[in-house]
């Protein structure tokens, strides 16, 4: 409507294909650098605590989003244990392809943190996962770690 003339043959309804051709390299930032290095070197999650708000963020960040205090000097090591805050059994990849094996994606509330880490669960049957399940991070061997969130292979039910 609104046009004086329209396409009236299917064959004339054409399209043009294209893309946005880009490549990125991201720095993790001042806080992120330390967060990733803590995974890499110490197998621990680094958080940041805002004393005024009583909130512990993880990953560590340089500012408290609630009160805008600078918390760059209040980083805390949170270890690698926590509980499942929420989970999903995921059957598709991010580009929409059906996975052969579904993965379990979870929000992990690390002990001592208020925030959550998004990661995968492993060494567990989907049917056995529940909210509140205690879990721990499984790290790749040191030689395979690169300073990435993927240095953590997954979380698994905590032992003991």
């Amino acid at each position: 409507m609104a046009l004086a003339e329209r396409i009236h043959r299917t064959i004339d309804a054409t399209h043009w294909r294209g893309e946005i051709p880009l490549n990125y390299i991201y720095t993790p930032g001042r806080a992120g650098e330390q967060f990733l290095r803590a995974l890499l070197d110490e197998e621990t999650f680094l958080g940041a605590r805002c004393a005024a708000c009583g909130v512990t963020y993880v990953p560590a960040r340089i500012f408290c989003e609630r009160c805008f205090a600078r918390i760059e000097d209040s980083f805390v090591k949170l270890g690698k244990r926590g509980t499942v805050h929420a989970f999903t059994v995921s059957h598709e990849t991010f580009d929409g392809v059906r996975k052969e094996e579904p993965s379990i994606v979870a929000l992990i509330k690390l002990d001592g943190a208020d925030g959550v880490v998004l990661h995968r669960l492993g060494d567990v049957d989907p049917g056995d996962v529940r909210v509140g399940l205690p879990v721990e991070a499984v790290f790749k061997p040191k030689k395979d770690r690169q300073g990435s969130i993927l240095d953590v292979r997954h979380f698994r039910p905590a032992k003991g």
Partner: protein, 183 residues
């Protein structure tokens, strides 16, 4: 309050290129694959189809009497549907131009090694309303001989290679008299 050097000192940490390429800082790469198929619609669809036929088509507005290229189904100035199709010529006049030593990736052309600079131009198409041009490339001319106001003509791909795209015109070249002044 003045903004002083001391105040801004810690606001941004300047890295060197090699800090990134040699991973002195940690980095995470990503190459998005964002692809589209944009519907042409009647105006651009016909424009491309006629390019495949070796012709340039425009749309007219009866009210402002403009002959519009690229064609559009409405006149953006009169705010009414456009009226008719009309073919325009494949010749035109250089409105403005560039002698580019860089390509779209910001890569440098090897000018000293004899590579020809890219010479894009806005070309006012003959038969379209005054000042109505398109972006295209100039070639078969010494870049430094290009002048604003120069008459040019489309050089088409052979019919079999045309696919209904703006690149069915390979480039524009000077009309015959000007050509003698080229290399």
């Amino acid at each position: 309050m003045e903004i002083t050097k001391e105040m801004v000192e810690r606001t941004a940490t300047a890295l060197k290129l090699e800090d990134i390429t040699k991973r002195k800082v940690l980095t995470t790469p990503w190459q998005p694959k964002v692809q589209y198929a944009w519907d042409d619609g009647p105006a651009i669809g016909r424009y491309l189809a006629e390019l495949k036929n070796g012709r340039i088509i425009a749309r007219t507005c009866r009210k402002c009497r403009r002959i519009m290229i690229p064609p559009r189904m409405f006149c953006e100035l009169c705010w009414r549907p456009s009226d008719d199709w009309t073919f325009v010529k494949d010749t035109g006049v250089v409105n403005t131009f560039v002698i580019s030593h860089v390509d779209w990736k910001a890569g440098r052309l090897d000018i000293k090694g004899g590579e020809r600079p890219l010479t894009p131009a806005v070309i006012e198409i003959d038969g379209a309303s005054a000042g109505m041009g398109i972006l295209h490339m100039l070639d078969e001319v010494d870049p430094w001989q290009i002048k604003i106001g120069m008459k040019v003509q489309a050089v088409w791909k052979p019919q079999a290679e045309r696919q209904g795209a703006i690149t069915d015109i390979r480039y524009f070249k000077p009309l015959a008299p000007e050509r003698k002044r080229g290399k």
